[in-house]
Amino acid sequence: MNTTQDNPVTAAKRAGRNALDESAGKQLLAAHGVKVPQSRVAKGVGDVDAVMNGLQTPVVVKVMSPDILHKSDAGGVKINLRSAAEVKAEIEGMLNAPKIKGARIEGFLVEEMAPAGHELVIGGLRDPQFGPLVMVGLGGIFVEILKDVSFRLCPITRIDAEEMIAELKGAAILQGARGTKPASMDAIIDVLLKVGGENGLLMQHAADISEADINPLIVSDTAAVAVDARFILG
């Protein structure tokens, strides 16, 4: 954190919000040293040219609205766009989508696409008796169906982070199974520590953040990037 004014949690609380939107969530992660994709906000099709200047294609566009919780389901996420023209066309399409039309729209997040890698989830929750916990799991069906996740109380140490990952039933997949590249263990541990470690995000904001969900965290053989993030305040 640079200053309190920069703190997206404080800002969201002041604005009376009960959650951080994706852009604020990523700002918070970036402030704690977690890599997030380069992104800018376009208010509408009018700023797309300016916003695209300096971003690497392909990009993804995501609608920003306090009324839309599940952006993909609402048709509010379009990926793999290679030009300003494609971005504009998709934004116009979204503005007419049935589940978006009536919503309050704050803008469109235009974001560089993360390079391919393993999908992980890093989450957090606050227990009323024990305080913040950090969670890690493999993304997709592993976390949703198989509940293959491990938890630790914050703050965690490096060894705790290593053991959390080793404890996952799907841990071997991260080593690179069936011809895939391995995921960088150092990069995952680094994010776990920045989120759940001694001076990590969850400890610093224990009083304000009741739930955190970085999903997915895309981990290549060299880096981990938080592609989407949700923080519930309260």
């Binding site: 227990d127 024990f130 491990s150």
Partner: protein, 478 residues
């Protein structure tokens, strides 16, 4: 005041006040007075009574503030509503008050009374144990609520949210050879919590192993911080009640415990090195192993040798231990060659598990075991050896001293290779009274020598795996 100074009046009180004893001598507090006298309590006992001049031959006093000397420990078992007033009037004259009575936070209509009680204890300047508990068992202070319990001061410190379970722990522990440095029941934890007692036991030089029965940790963060800062200096075994939705509902009506998230307890155990167990027997079994054996983080337990009579038992145990993450794998060829050279009778298996029928074990009146174990220790170098004897198989076939010789032989080999392998004895029996008596005699001897004794291979497996986990935890963080 440090934690030891703070809690010494509880664990070794010089003065005990008792509220609720009747002049007829038949109330629970009268029983308590009798028990502590029988247990050898040599300090002053002050019955508190509004009218009586004397109870059980002791001078009675009207209030807690009237006793000749300040009260280190007050045992209170009268109807709940009158207690807050008694505590509030103590005027700093009482260090610890234990409220046995129930009808507080464990029932909806008592929640207000519990708050009143806690506030009265603060006003009266004392620490409060309970309400809704049974008492303390502290051999160093010669105070006990329990009917039985050894006078000898041991090394296992217990805090239990349940009073009844506290009694079970003392009784079963006693029959298994577990000796306690103290046992405190804390019930609804209106003031003193398991965390406070954990802090005491961690600092207490008499305590080597800590066991906790917990239904809820209202001060969970503090419990975590204490465990984390302790860096597994002493083994802590946690029996957690209310780990399922249905169990939580039961805990809520038992001690008024609030919902807890089981994932938290698993996480807590993994990152602080404490051991979570599921049953009372596992709890006692695990405390026993840590009471008897010194953990060796420099050489965490992995390779286990099984030695004894019973082929099927050996195979089943190998499966069981392997599922617990322990290795029961065959010896290197050198060890097998050395054992083969002994030319043991047919039917003897020498690869690990080492299965020796009674016919083999009774050779040389049981002294053959020494030679076999010597080879196992010198060539096999296991981190742990589990020796199992099926006592039923010896009956009527061997001289009585064969069993003694077998155990004595094992002890001699232990001494010859100091610090090499953990040694565990499993004495299997079939419930026949004569055999059980023999087993008990045997168990007592072995436990006195520092050997943990179990009834079955599986019962020994869990604590051994817990020991291994504890050693690995320390090794990874050394």
């Amino acid at each position: 005041m440090n934690i030891i100074e703070e809690f010494t009046p509880l664990f070794a009180p010089k003065t005990v006040a008792v509220i609720g004893a009747s002049t007829k001598g038949n109330a629970l507090p009268n029983v308590f007075i009798r028990r502590i006298r029988e247990f050898g309590f040599s300090g002053d006992i002050y019955p508190i009574h509004p009218a009586a001049a004397e109870i059980d031959g002791l001078t009675a006093y009207k209030t807690l503030a009237d006793t000749p000397k300040p009260v280190d420990y007050a045992y209170i078992a009268v109807s709940g509503a009158q207690i807050p007033g008694m505590l509030a009037a103590a005027k700093g004259h009482v260090r610890f008050a234990q409220v046995i009575s129930s009808g507080f936070g464990e029932v909806d209509e008592g929640k207000g009374l519990q708050e009143e009680l806690a506030s009265a204890a603060r006003t009266g300047g004392m620490r409060l144990l309970g309400p809704n508990c049974l008492g303390i068992y502290t051999p160093r202070g010669r105070v006990t609520f329990a009917e039985i319990g050894p006078k000898e001061v041991g090394h296992v410190g217990i805090v239990s949210q349940s009073g009844g379970l506290g009694t079970d722990i003392i009784r079963r522990g006693l029959s298994r050879g577990v000796k306690f440095s103290g046992l405190v029941t804390v019930g609804n934890c209106a003031d003193v919590t398991p965390s406070d007692l954990l802090e005491f036991y961690l600092a207490d030089s008499q305590t080597k192993v800590i066991g906790m029965y917990i239904e809820t940790a209202k001060d969970g963060r503090r419990l975590f911080d204490i465990l984390r800062n302790a860096k597994a200096a002493k083994p802590v075994v946690i029996l957690k009640g209310g780990r399922t939705q249905q169990g939580l509902a039961a805990a809520a009506s038992h001690t008024g415990s609030l919902a807890g998230d089981d994932r938290v307890w698993v996480a807590l155990a993994r990152q602080t090195g404490c051991m979570l167990v599921d049953t009372l027997d596992q709890f006692i079994d695990t405390l026993l192993i840590f009471q008897s054996l010194t953990p060796r983080p420099q050489r965490p337990t992995q390779k286990v040798v099984l030695f004894g009579n019973g082929g099927g038992t050996s195979v089943l145990a190998t499966d069981y231990y392997s599922r617990l993450g322990l290795d029961v794998t065959p010896f290197a060829q050198s060890a097998i060659d050395a054992l083969a050279a002994m030319k043991l009778p047919p039917g003897t298996s020498i690869t690990n598990p080492v299965d020796c029928p009674v016919g083999t074990l009774q050779q040389d009146d049981g002294r053959v075991a020494e030679k076999i174990l010597d080879i196992i220790y010198s060539q096999g170098k296991p981190e742990a050896l589990v020796m199992h004897l099926n006592l039923s198989a010896f009956v009527g076939r061997t001289k009585p001293e064969v069993l003694d010789n077998l155990v004595a032989a094992a002890m001699r080999v232990q001494e010859k290779y100091p610090g090499q392998s953990h040694f565990i004895l499993v004495l299997r029996s079939d419930g026949e009274p004569g055999l059980e008596a023999r087993k008990r005699e045997f168990r007592d001897k072995a436990v006195a020598l520092g050997v943990p004794v179990y009834d079955e291979m599986a019962n020994a497996g869990h604590p051994l795996a817990a020991l291994a986990t504890f050693e690995r935890f320390k090794a990874a963080r050394a």
